[in-house]
Amino acid sequence: MTLPFALNIPYIAVALLILLGLYAVIFKRNLIKIVIGITLIESGVNMFLITLGYRKGSIAPIYTSSPGGIMALPVPQALTLTSIVIGVAVLALMLSLVIHLYRHYNTLDVRKIGGGKE
């Protein structure tokens, strides 16, 4: 790879975040931790998108009052914003469901709730 190592660090962080999130979702039993795992995966994906648009030494992509020079790519940032907005909605929905689940089952252990067992 011709890229210097420092530029690869964000990608390593992305992989770590996604793997950490998956670990939390699969192996943790607490519902809140599962929700946290999902948000971790989401941050990983968002970070990946942001990293794609980054150029070294670039400025914010504001068109009218730019001092000149290379700009960061604005499209991934727009995508990330959309993804964050969606993430907020999903997070709110999940947390409210967790509140309801706790009311009904008096536990947050995903294996104790587990309806739909055959």
Binding site: L22, V25, I26, F27, K28, R29, I34, V110, R111, G114, G115, G116, K117, E118
Partner: protein
Amino acid sequence: MSWDAIFPQISTGSGFWSPLVWSGAILIILLIAIGIRRLGRKDYKEKTGQTQVFLSGNPEYEKEQMHVKASNMYWGFMESMKWLYKYLNKMHTGVASDYILWFIVVLAVLFILIGVM
């Protein structure tokens, strides 16, 4: 007018399927069946001793108890397929984490099959 226009059909490669022809055939068969039924005995009467249930002399149960419940149906099939149901029941744990685990496993298998091949 051609045959196709009167009885539209779909070709399946090695044959054809025309529901209207089929409906005509089933109508004819139905007529024949009714004809055969009319040949039957005329002295059958409902709600007389003729229609009472005879269970080898045992008393007849209440009607509600005679109904075969859903979980009792296909008992033989379930019994003979027990070995399969054992694994399938183990698979369906009803836990969200396991669902994601299956997803990751499928992703890994797909990746090996598509990425390497």
